[in-house]
């Protein structure tokens, strides 16, 4: 009877292993979504951050520590769709533009720019899973997003937007160009 059970167990394991052995493949495809944009991207900041976490839960024996490095690219600029006729004043060869404030348009952390630099796991603990490492990376991403404003990216984006638009308008024949921004700062996207 014991031999029969063992045979059944081995048989089940063999069948399962055979069925599940397949390589990387796409499983599911969802419908695409298109969005129209009017963004003038004027600056890109490349930043780095060290992600540090330790798991020393009191009811588990041993600790786990991880140190990851992360590189992120932030882009900021002006949403041109917010410019309406009332934001433009033209008199002969002079033009006055009233622009919305710059906003953070994107934050990009490429998978290859996220690296585990150090990992220390006690003998009785399992190493960090992919899902756990992703959860740390998500926290790092959130921290970078929240800190974007303090890096001065929005001010740089507006200075660059002035420069780009002034050059563009000058090429179109305007001699006197004035650009200013809304009084109220718009929140980060």
């Amino acid at each position: 009877m014991r031999l029969l059970s063992l045979f059944c167990l081995f048989g089940f394991l063999f069948i399962t292993a055979g069925c599940k052995h397949h390589n990387l493949k796409e499983r599911q495809e969802k419908a695409m979504m298109l969005k129209e944009l009017n963004d003038l991207v004027t600056v890109e900041y490349v930043v780095t951050k060290i992600i540090r976490a330790s798991d020393d839960t009191w009811f588990k024996i041993g600790t786990r520590k991880i140190l990851m490095s992360c590189k992120a690219t932030l882009r900021a600029g002006i949403d041109l769709s917010k410019i309406t006729e009332k934001n433009i004043d033209i008199q002969n060869k002079s033009i006055s533009l009233h622009l919305p404030h710059a906003t953070l348009l994107s934050l990009d952390i490429k998978p290859e720019d996220l690296k585990t630099e150090y990992e220390d796991v006690s003998l009785l603990r399992s190493s960090f899973s992919s899902a756990e490492i992703d959860a740390f990376a998500v926290q790092g991403e959130s921290n970078i997003r929240k800190s974007a404003d303090s890096l001065g990216i929005l001010q740089t984006a507006e200075i660059n937007a002035n420069f780009i638009l002034t050059g563009f308008l000058r090429r179109l024949g305007y001699e006197k160009i004035s650009i200013d921004y809304d009084m109220v700062n718009t929140p980060l996207q």
Partner: protein
């Protein structure tokens, strides 16, 4: 009697939240990362007009043989991982590629030749990935390789769905509206060949 009294006291303290409940005591809390500074490495000046973005989702799985000694006629269940990824591809034109010879102005008429549209970014951040299933040990490098393949797949699909053509058409419309807004009457905007 003493044990019962201690248990009653603990129960009452837990009720008034002076002591954590037994469930909370052994509850797995999320591990929070430490506060670390953000260092600015580069500042690049750009002049990109983004005109379209395409959102897409892909699911990929990968499996590999388990690193265990094998027995004759018996193969162990392979390690397996299933990831779900969301990505946004943005396309538009690079305004720095427009020079003097691409702009012709005559009174209230203007003609602009725009550069060819290009993919400006493909964003798949850590928060855009979800590990749906994970069995066995997967190194960071192995997971990164799967994520890169997912990103390539999203880019491929965006190109198949003619993101560049759509970005070009939108760019013509956006520049046309901008020129009309700043006083030009006769406008001709086209993409360079």
């Amino acid at each position: 009697m003493i044990v019962a009294a201690v248990l009653v006291i603990i129960f009452l303290f837990q009720k008034i939240h002076w002591l954590p409940s037994f469930g909370d005591l052994f509850k797995r809390k999320p591990i929070l990362i430490a506060e670390t500074p953000i260092l600015v490495k580069e500042i690049n000046k750009l002049s990109l007009l983004s005109t379209i973005s395409m959102y897409d989702e892909v699911v990929m799985d990968s499996s590999k043989p388990k690193n265990l000694p094998s027995f004759p006629g018996l193969r162990p269940v392979p390690d397996k991982i299933v990831l779900i990824g969301k990505g946004t591809t943005t396309a538009g034109i690079d305004l720095t590629k427009i020079d003097e010879k691409n702009i012709r102005v005559l009174k209230d008429s203007v003609s602009i030749e725009l550069p060819r549209p290009e993919i400006q970014s493909l964003i798949m951040n850590p928060s855009d990935f979800e590990t749906f299933d994970e069995e066995g040990k997967w190194s960071g490098e192995e997971v990164t390789q799967i994520k890169i393949r997912m990103r390539n797949k999203i880019e491929q699909r965006a190109l198949q769905n003619k993101i560049l053509e759509k970005a070009g058409q939108r760019a013509i419309l956006v520049i046309d509206n901008l020129l009309r807004g700043i006083g030009f009457k006769k406008i001709n905007v086209e993409i360079s060949n």
